[in-house]
Symmetry: C2
Subunit: 280 residues, 2 copies
């Protein structure tokens, strides 16, 4: 594999979770000549979505995704409605930011529930409720299959096959109004990864997220690795996406409470740039 | 669902990891009138497999599985050969113990490797090398798909579909000489669980393991829950197995360093008996 185009590097602001607000993250990206950003909604809200959109434009940044909406399962109708309304607002924000997609996390089991099948129906129904608005706003929904270890409490869509089954059902024409975000951390283990990437096709591959799986992994949530420090064959997975026609950006998203989050943003971003060119 | 037959309760000795050697585990089972046991090889080796087999017979116990063999991927031919030889010895031990199956863990990536596809080929080849001996000894191989969070370091067979693909390839007649062990902890999240249990069929369902997925889970390895304390719908999964014709035992296997492993064996087993009748 040849290295990826350095201009295709994007940074999910979760990677700079403890060091940067939105403005500081953009400043750090500018210093490091990184052209893509994927902000979290709370950081955008803190300065206002219009101001965030202006900053993005003024800095010539591409918003590779807005994180995040969904979380559809809830114990009652009111809770489910609230999740849908929140996701509709997130679609508006994604449109204002001209984001390439709105990242959708399914959500886990409602409190006290063991009804996984029921939760998954709520996800399908919730996506069905917001898809028309996403389509009319031009803000594609990127369903992100989450690692099965998050099934109970974060996301009960856990494989690419399952995510694409949802996309097929809700968007029979496969228009790309709903597609998938592929995060190597969540899917690297999947024996069907290659065949399901092929099934997705170029139009439905809306985002590609990078980090690494460390051995050992000491925390289920906050111990993701920098690319190259773990066991994921990132170039192989990238090649599968590119063979299908994915030529979007590669977005780095590292949750790392005890390591990368403790470092200065320029150190983190500098390492992201190096690793993007050497191990991705 | 009606509760399971109390006589079908079995205990994997890992549940009593820190409190019992083999003999003490058997004594505790006798006190609690539990009829099934699934011992680990190191505990069997400590008293000798023939003596263990005698104790099992004298106590009228059923050995629902011997834990464990496999771990096929290795960096070189010598390492792969050693894993195969070790698994052949484990088959002999399973036969001596008249175990219902030998539990097979695939093994993870070889050290320094990112070649997941290659590791999975080593697993297939390793299984192929030991299957004839297992068949001739009457010790079925139960491939246990492990939760994807163990893919890198313990087992790169991570879904029931993948395990059954292996079984299909190695035993085209589906004789049951190689089948699967279903541990709810590893597979509860799988959207294909029901359909793949149906695909397995009665002959290839060799073991059924119980515990629970806690929310939150604080450790990737040692924080499994007692049945009923987590989010897994165990009766539903049991109904899927029974519909296919599984009428074997239910084996409790709980890795719980900070909770159940700290308690006295009779307290743990007493709770297993209660929960087996009330939430399984």
């Amino acid at each position: 594999m040849t290295p990826p185009d350095p201009d295709l590097l994007s940074i999910n602001t979760a990677t700079l979770w403890e060091s940067c607000n939105f403005r500081q993250a953009v400043d750090a990206l500018r210093r490091q000549k990184i052209r893509g950003i994927a902000p979290w909604r709370d950081r955008v809200a803190a300065i206002g979505v219009k101001e965030a959109a202006r900053i993005v434009r003024d800095n010539g940044l591409v918003v590779t995704g807005l994180c995040r909406a969904g979380f559809f399962p809830a114990p009652d109708r009111k809770g489910r409605r609230a999740a849908i309304d929140e996701s509709l607002r997130a679609i508006d924000e994604a449109a204002t930011l001209e984001a390439k997609c709105l990242v959708i996390l399914a959500g886990g089991l409602p409190k006290e529930s063991r009804d996984l099948g029921g939760a998954r129906e709520m996800v399908r129904d919730g996506l069905g409720e917001i898809l028309v608005h996403a389509r009319s706003c031009g803000a594609p929904l990127a369903v992100e299959p989450l690692h099965p270890m998050y099934c109970a409490d974060r996301g009960c869509v856990n494989t690419l096959r399952q995510a694409l089954d949802l996309c097929d059902e809700l968007d029979t024409s496969r228009s790309g109004a709903i597609g998938v975000a592929i995060d190597v951390y969540h899917v690297w283990w999947d024996p069907e990864l290659k065949s399901q990437i092929e099934r997705a096709g170029e139009k439905r591959l809306l985002a590609f997220h990078l980090c690494d799986w460390l051995v050992p992994t000491t925390d289920l949530l906050y111990d993701r690795g920098m690319m190259g420090d773990g066991v994921i064959d990132i170039p192989l997975i990238r090649s599968w996406l590119e063979t299908v026609g994915y030529h979007g950006m590669q977005e780095v998203e590292i949750f790392s409470k005890n390591n990368w989050w403790k470092r200065a943003p320029d150190e983190v971003l500098g390492m992201c740039r190096v690793r993007h060119q050497t191990v991705c």
